[in-house]
Amino acid sequence: MKTETYTLNLGPQHPSTHGVFRIILELDGETVVKATPVPGYLHRGIEKLAEARTYTQVIPYTDRMDYMAAMLMNWGYVAAVEKLMGIEVPERVEYIRVIVGELSRIASHQIAIGAMGGDIGALTAFTYTFRDREYVIDLLEMVSGSRMTFSYFRIGGVAADLPDEFFPATRKLLNEIPAMCDEYDDLVTGNEIFQARTKQVGIITPEMGINYSLSGPTLRGSGVNYDLRKARPYSIYDRFDFEVPLGTNGDCFDRFRIRIDEIRQSKRIIEQALDQIPEGPIMAKVPKVIKPPAGDAYAEIESSKGVYGAYVVSDGSPKPYRVHFRRPSFINLGYLGELCEGWKLADVIAILASIDIVLGEVDC
């Protein structure tokens, strides 16, 4: 029997698309024949805006890309400018950056876990992870003054030193993190209905993952051991002892599971950083007016979604000539269309949630 396909428009206002993402699905019954992602509804032109701002003034705009892990977005940009100017960042700053960066990663992964549960129908997971996330955000607020768009990093350092009450509060939270992760495991990971919805669904083979330049947990879920913190240690990540959690099947369940494991690893990194953090200045010697020499620099870090890079071109003036951001969510989305083909409509939601996109970053 021959049946006609029909077109379903998912988004840009649908709650399971995590923002204003739109995907046009051509369906044969419930099976997806063709999926066409349509990003761009949240495009603000951050790269262009940056050209009319001084180097320091770009920092608040980087917050607004991946607003779930804004500290890491700051980090990639300042690392590029520091590379361009040849600034040696003080030791204490590196440690502060690692601590707040990993806290940001924990907060971001908690959203990924909760949102994936929520999309699939386990809304309780969403409330549980968001409750715990508030405690992580409290720490970042204590440091930076904001709860979401921190703007805490500065070129050559950070805006302010860690307050004294930060250390006991962080250690207290770190002690609770294993119990938090166990709770997520009991609540969602072990749930048979959740497993039935995610296991063997949306399989990304390691070859396809590499071919499509995926990164972050999306790639590591397929078992490819590529984490910039290990593969090409930037900052001071070579001083910490941690593991890179890897998946085996490359399905939605593996991508979900390794995020919980990554929270556990982040906890280990922060603990070591808190033990090792030295005293010292929180700013390198940076001129008041930042005027990098003409040239370009590219720096990349491992953000919570994957490899985040910033490319900065200078013409010697106080404003950047060109700024480009390699946003991992956007590049991970490139494979979505092909990945969804052949799966049922409900699986599309699970697949999209497992890639963990943030639209602020996709559209930039």
Binding site: Q57, M142, G145, D186, L187, N191, Q195
Partner: protein, 156 residues
């Protein structure tokens, strides 16, 4: 056994149901903000020298300053922030050399109309230039300060 995971999940939620409440009823109860919290702006008019560094540091041109020259000194007559465009990044507060501009921990900045959002921290006329500025200007400054203090009240 199939269903074991579900039971475990129920155990978690039942346990949490009986544990302590973690939220506060917001308009009636407030949690304390951290000292560095980025709330509503405050300007110490006496410390401000109307240099305009804050306006230059702002990525979004939020701060508008008007000043007049009185007795060879810059006198701040108007300090207006277009808060609707503010990113709350704190670059202006950081740039202030005199420690005049600060964040407070006031979080209620909601308004019914967009035009009411603008925050006028100072709005006062410049004093007349005088030959003997000692007594007169200090009296005038005190008066102006009282006037400036009453203006933000109108906003919020």
């Amino acid at each position: 056994m199939f269903g074991q995971g579900l039971l475990k999940g129920l155990q978690v939620t039942w346990g949490r149901m009986l544990s302590k409440k973690q939220t506060v009823e917001y308009p009636d109860e407030h949690i304390e903000m951290f000292p560095r919290f980025h709330g509503r702006f405050e300007l110490d008019v006496d410390k401000c020298i109307a240099c305009g560094l804050c306006a230059n540091a702002c990525p979004n041109k939020v701060i508008q300053i008007e000043k007049e020259k009185v007795d060879k000194k810059q006198y701040l007559t108007r300090y207006m922030m277009r808060i609707e465009y503010c990113l709350f990044c704190g670059l202006c507060v950081e740039s202030c050399n005199k420690d005049a501009l600060k964040f407070s921990n006031v979080i209620d900045m909601n308004q019914y109309r967009r035009s009411w959002v603008r925050l006028t921290l100072v709005d006062r006329p410049a004093p007349e230039p005088t030959e003997t500025p000692e007594e007169e200007t200090s009296a005038k400054a005190a008066k102006d300060e009282a006037a400036a203090g009453s203006t933000p009240g109108k906003e919020g």
